[in-house]
Symmetry: C2
Subunit: 120 residues, 2 copies
Amino acid sequence: MARAATTADAFNAVAEPRRRQILDALAGGELPVNRIVAVLGLGQPQVSKHLRVLREVGAVEVRSEGRQRLYRLNGEALKPIHDWVKEYERTWTERLERMDEVLEELKSKEQGDGSDDSQR
Amino acid sequence: MARAATTADAFNAVAEPRRRQILDALAGGELPVNRIVAVLGLGQPQVSKHLRVLREVGAVEVRSEGRQRLYRLNGEALKPIHDWVKEYERTWTERLERMDEVLEELKSKEQGDGSDDSQR
DNA sequence: TTGACATATTCCGATATAGGTATATATTGC
DNA sequence: GCAATATATACCTATATCGGAATATGTCAA
């Protein structure tokens, strides 16, 4: 048994660039699948599969209209991501964090050469 | 030629629950690898590999101190995620969106009864 | 019914990657 | 030098999953 346990959550859904593109497209309003296909320039089955993933995490909802399936955004499914990342926002907004960073750097230089090797 | 092009970006890095755990642990301050191993209850090589991914997207930085490698958070690497998801925040905060949703529903009901589209 | 259209599902092959084990590298102390 | 500690890397296996092609399902019109 390897590979993590198929985390079918919002984080995973959104990790795929195509799926973010789909959500971005739906931000302008409800769209049928063939419009999304046109926007992404991807095959129709692939789009349907991405839509399924998005549906499973609740990020989109569907309604049928004739032979069309109209997808609409449900941004609330992205709330966990927003909540999680929001906690880190202060890291790049507060000046105090910068000061702390500089102090750490100085400290490590003082103690020897250990200041670099951050790259490989 | 299949499978998407190895998106080594912040979205991908954070899609892994273990890596979010690591970042959460580092939110409290700099930690050596063995502390992270203890927190996660995962093997040391696995943790090192996760740390490498996080380093490659800039979400963490390292400095050496003796034989230890002290990892610290760099929240700014998460800014793209924050910026992206922020756009969707209004979806679940604004009331107007709800109204729009209801209107859409009503419209679809209206259109549902007609057997031909001549009255559209 | 037949056929056209719209979308979903199934099967396939290629690749990415998580975790596991063993090993390599680096630092410290003897 | 050698041993111990701390971490990183290499190799392996199992699985997840992307894109592609073929096919199935569903809806409408003639």
